[in-house]
Symmetry: C2
Subunit: 682 residues, 2 copies
């Protein structure tokens, strides 16, 4: 969709794969276009051709879920190939045989066997697994191996023995700050299945919205959601949808803070005077549940009882993060309570609250989960700690006998490159400080899609494809960490995602058309291909955002990680280091020329729209970066020196271009700096 990317062929990758005589972990294994990479893969001879006669049969254990998985598999395969497959198979003609040993648990459990073996040969495909979870993973691996060749759609012969490294591989979606429509949840569950994630952590309440229908306390959704909530029927439908894909659904109801929306309907739950309004801003807010009233626990007992019945998973997340205690400080009755109970501070009061809540959760036969803050001296040992703070608190928890999950480093809302998330390992730097048993207590991790700047339209581009890299971290052997291979394979899975309904490239294109009013906004596409959203928490400081601010600007339409900028950066590094290939020089020259000349085409149209006029200086900066880059490239090519004054001026211009404008970062300015600095000056 975005112009100016280099063409990248799936074929070259798979041909490379076919040429490798035997595969072990690491670099050579990376040649398989699979994400996450399997635990083991041994290539065979020849390839299996997927044609109109293709069909799948099951033997061993079967269940309706497996038959639905086959339907879904064939539907996806049709979308991948355009080939229609007849569903009714004549016995004996099936060329894909699936053997399943036995059932998995009715309510999917942490740590169930997810292994499978997939054997592809020219004659047929055999998939075997202990239970449907492994069988479904094997089907997904097969789908990733399908590619077009001169012989049609084929899968290379290979024997894959695969199982996950961690049993808890999650994606959290924050449906509290911005509501996530049901279709968006469903297609993200489809994509989670594609990359073998197995936990959907659903963050369902926030200061900005309470998103679940409660029949016991209906004012929660009636007053706390702006009408944007999930009915219980929809929740059940999603849980069923997830189970069909081998995915557990863990609900989170954040307390005692991040809970303003609860108090709009039930102000007596809060510690302040009320009345409360749905929060429209972003940040950490003062409202917090009143931990001193018995009525709070009576309410939570009924509420958690209702939700424990709705969500079958054994784990129940109560949040517990970022309680600033200000409402407690300001409430004399709560202060009295603190003194009467000899609690030393607000953290201790929260611990007191958490302990009460934990008992309620346990009384419903659930295991409590919470963010770092719930870990206190007396926290029961079965509580699972999800760390947003970092591996140190995970280490601390494991040493004290708690099970934990890492989310720090996997905050996909912060618009960091996939490589940064990819290289974060839940065990790195802490495994050697733990006993083997304590290491086992690190269950895995979760990517977290916080939604301050994410709505139902752009959520796919915020989650994908980068979460595929995180999924690989959770599934594949620890030593799989080659970044270039990751990017190659992530590009392949990205190309497959539309077959799962993840259409972020089409959405981005439509947003460019919408903001420009132009059916073919070519020059805007060029600009869009080289900018990224601000990183970490910078964006919130640049404008006054509320939960009602439209997310329809260029920053919302572009990818969190520009492929063009990343490739250009690699090229510039090689050129600056003197190792640039002729293709590198040519590509750098083509791109810099495109960018230099783009503003002349783009500028006249930008002022025609309220949504694009802010881009005028960004487009000018790109022009300048192109001009500076071409000058540097020319000097490097000719081996000529650049006047020191010019070079100094160019570096100053680049420094200016690197500053955020229109809440956008011009990602090709820093690589041009490399070129300018590599050129001789005089």
């Amino acid at each position: 969709m975005i112009s100016g990317r280099r063409s990248r062929s799936l074929l070259s990758l798979t041909l490379l794969c076919a040429a490798i005589p035997s595969l072990a972990h690491g670099q050579s294994l990376s040649a398989l276009p699979i994400m996450p990479l399997p635990a083991s893969a041994i290539p065979g001879q020849g390839e299996f051709v997927v044609d109109g006669q293709f069909s799948v049969t099951f033997d061993g254990f079967t269940e309706p879920r497996l038959l639905r998985a086959r339907e879904r598999f064939l539907d996806t395969l049709t979308r991948e190939t355009g080939i229609p497959f007849l569903r009714e198979t004549t016995a004996g003609t099936a060329r894909f045989q699936v053997h399943t040993g036995g059932p998995s648990k009715v309510i999917q459990q942490l740590g169930e066997d997810e292994s499978y073996q997939l054997v592809v040969s020219a004659d047929g495909v055999k998939l075997s697994a202990a239970n449907p979870l492994g069988a479904m993973h094997g089907l997904q691996t097969f789908l990733q191996l399908v590619r077009i060749t001169p012989r049609g759609f084929t899968v290379p012969a290979v024997t894959i023995d695969d199982k996950p490294r961690f049993p808890w591989r999650g994606l959290m979606i924050d449906s509290g700050r911005h509501f996530t429509p049901i279709p968006a949840i469903e297609r993200n569950l489809d994509a989670m299945e594609a990359v073998k994630l197995n936990v959907f952590h659903w963050h369902l309440s926030e200061d900005q919205g309470f998103r679940v229908e409660s029949k016991v306390f209906p004012l929660l959704q009636q007053k706390g959601s702006d009408g944007l909530f999930y009915t219980q029927a929809e929740i059940r439908q999603i849980i069923e949808y997830a189970r069909d894909r081998g995915i557990r659904v863990v609900p989170e109801f954040d307390m005692p803070a991040h809970a303003t929306a609860w108090f709009v309907g039930y102000p007596q739950l809060g510690s302040g005077k009320g009345p409360y309004q749905i929060e429209r801003h972003w940040g950490v807010f003062d409202p917090a549940m009143d931990p001193t009233r018995e009525s709070t626990y009576q309410f939570l007992n009924l509420f958690i009882g209702e939700m424990a019945g709705l969500f079958p998973d054994l784990y129940f997340h109560i949040g517990g993060d970022e309680c600033n205690g200000k409402e407690w400080d300001a409430n004399p009755r709560i202060q009295e309570f603190i003194q009467a109970h000899h609690l030393k501070d607000n953290a201790a009061l929260q611990a007191w609250f958490t302990a009460r809540v934990q008992k309620i959760v346990a009384s419903r036969h659930k295991v409590m989960e919470g963010w770092d803050e719930v870990l206190q001296p007396d926290t029961p040992k079965d509580v699972v700690i999800q760390s947003w703070r970092g591996r140190d608190s995970l280490l601390d928890a494991a040493k004290r006998g708690y099970r934990g999950l890492l989310s720090n480093g996997y905050y996909i809302d912060l618009n960091q490159p996939a490589s940064e998330h990819y290289l974060v390992d839940p065990l790195e730097g802490i495994a050697d400080k733990l006993t083997p048993e304590q290491t086992e207590s690190i269950l895995g991790g979760e990517a977290t899609m916080w939604s301050e700047f994410v709505d139902g339209e752009i959520i796919d581009s915020r989650i994908w494809p980068r979460t595929a890299a995180i999924a690989e971290r959770f599934w594949s052997p620890q030593q799989v960490r080659d970044v270039p291979s990751m990017y190659e394979r992530m590009a392949t899975i990205a190309q497959k995602l539309p077959a799962y309904g993840i259409e972020y490239r089409a959405t981005s294109e439509q947003m460019l058309e919408r903001m420009s009013g132009d059916a073919n906004p070519e020059a805007l596409r060029v600009l869009a291909s080289v900018v990224e959203p601000p990183k970490k928490y910078a964006r919130g400081g640049m404008r006054d955002y509320t939960s009602l601010t439209p997310l329809n600007h260029l920053v919302d339409a572009v990818s969190p990680e520009s492929e063009t900028a990343r490739e250009f950066r690699e090229i510039c590094k090689r050129i600056a280091a003197g190792t640039g290939t002729p293709q590198d020089w040519q590509q750098a020259h083509d791109w810099l020329t495109l960018w230099r000349d783009n503003d002349a085409k783009l500028e006249p149209s930008l002022t025609k729209s309220d949504l694009t006029e802010e881009l005028v200086p960004v487009s000018q900066s790109l022009h300048q970066v192109g001009e500076i880059g071409l000058r540097a490239l020319d000097a490097l090519q000719k081996g000529e020196a650049v006047a020191a004054e010019v070079q100094k001026q160019d570096l100053a211009s680049l420094a200016a271009a690197e500053k955020p404008q229109a809440t956008l970062l011009l990602m090709v300015a820093p690589p041009v700096e490399l070129l300018v600095k590599a050129a001789k000056s005089q």
Copy 2:
């Protein structure tokens, strides 16, 4: 998605509109970016700004359907603008007031009042209508008027008084030859609502498939559908979905021919020996119901009874087309019957059959509808004739007192340009031969999406945007027939269709990626932008197609009408006529250069895929057409003569390039012929 198109700005169009002092029918009215154009529109002063405070209130008659229409309206408006709208309106703050006079019929009827008035001013919007049908049309008109400006998303002040020209404005989808998945049906109903079509004619049985669950005769779907059929619950859901959008659902069960799939489960219905198989080829086949057995009518009585209960619409389509009579000829018992009943030929036998079926349909309180062939001397006067043969049979029917619909000329499966369909008028050439009352009996028309070469993936690109032009023919005043205006406005509505879920441009892009295995197939896009599928019935003769042939080649991915080729043709006409603008010359030069140089980029990749290797000669032809075009352009520009021998050779090359290759037509060859012929030769 397809490179090489000229940028076309919505803004220039709407600015043009704002500049027009007053609007009447015809050219000046065309400036409103609405399709279909309203009966009357008078521009006002200023514009209405759509912002986050926007809301809609109803007064007068309300019903749940109207509230759902508002939800849908706001959802679409959000997709059009990216602005989230709060659903809960404080009384008195609404800026869009809808007044509805009263209810429409519970079962939507032919000829109900569909008029509305929409008054947009800077201060607010008022929509009024006699009933929900008109109100829903008015909401759609508003959505079409929204565009981005320097002041944000706005709607120009205007007063629109609107009503349809014809009461029956249909789209037929053939779900028999290729099954149409439910989501495809739904999104096409959404798009039908956008252009004010009000009849979904659902062709549900064919030689290649019987697509509805019958509980009385379950072998119909069990043996006749390959498992691809609609459950009765799904049918009811679609009928409800359509009613919510002001659309009637008229079912068609084709008989006595086009019915092979019925006979697979119930061979006794057929006139041949059986057994029967689901037909896999395309064409007109011999199997036909046996009109001589009472058991046939007993079956149809029960079956039509069941379907009459499922489909609430008053009209019931029994097909009746293309019975070749061969099974009747070959069956001695049927021949005896013909003699015994003094029937003169097979047509008379079919008439006998139709009369019996008509009585069954009437006994279920339905009005029968059928294709031309059902019109026989004794056909009851309330039968509606749908003409696939042409206006002559419509004229004949009307003169004899029958009501009729035109479909001849609206066969969107034939890949003709929108302009050809657009200029077909149901009344042209026959209105002056009819009394006013007979003219009234021409109810309107239907676009027909026959599905030999259409599956659930590509159906959107086959129906849209061309059907919007046909919808305008059925809705707008007869004198609205300016082709350039139609194309301008069709481009605008095409840009809006993704907000209704019609994503054919994204689908086309994904198909190009799939067939090439390339994430960014730029050169293939260039080729795709200038080719079209064969016209009319040519494609079937080019290859051996069956109903299981994958529709995943370039011919399936490209648009039935290339925008680039159409614009290029207009440019070449002007250049050849000596009226080319400097922009025309520049654009022609740019395009021809792009095309000439494309093969060098594309050719190496084509042989990497089984699906693209057939394109090698097409790509070479494009190269040659570019070269010839540039030579002619150069000669024209310089006023120099071209050697007669060269010109002759060029014309021969162009003639070769115009022949179909790889089931594709290279649409830019004929315009280049214009250039070559315009150049002087010596």
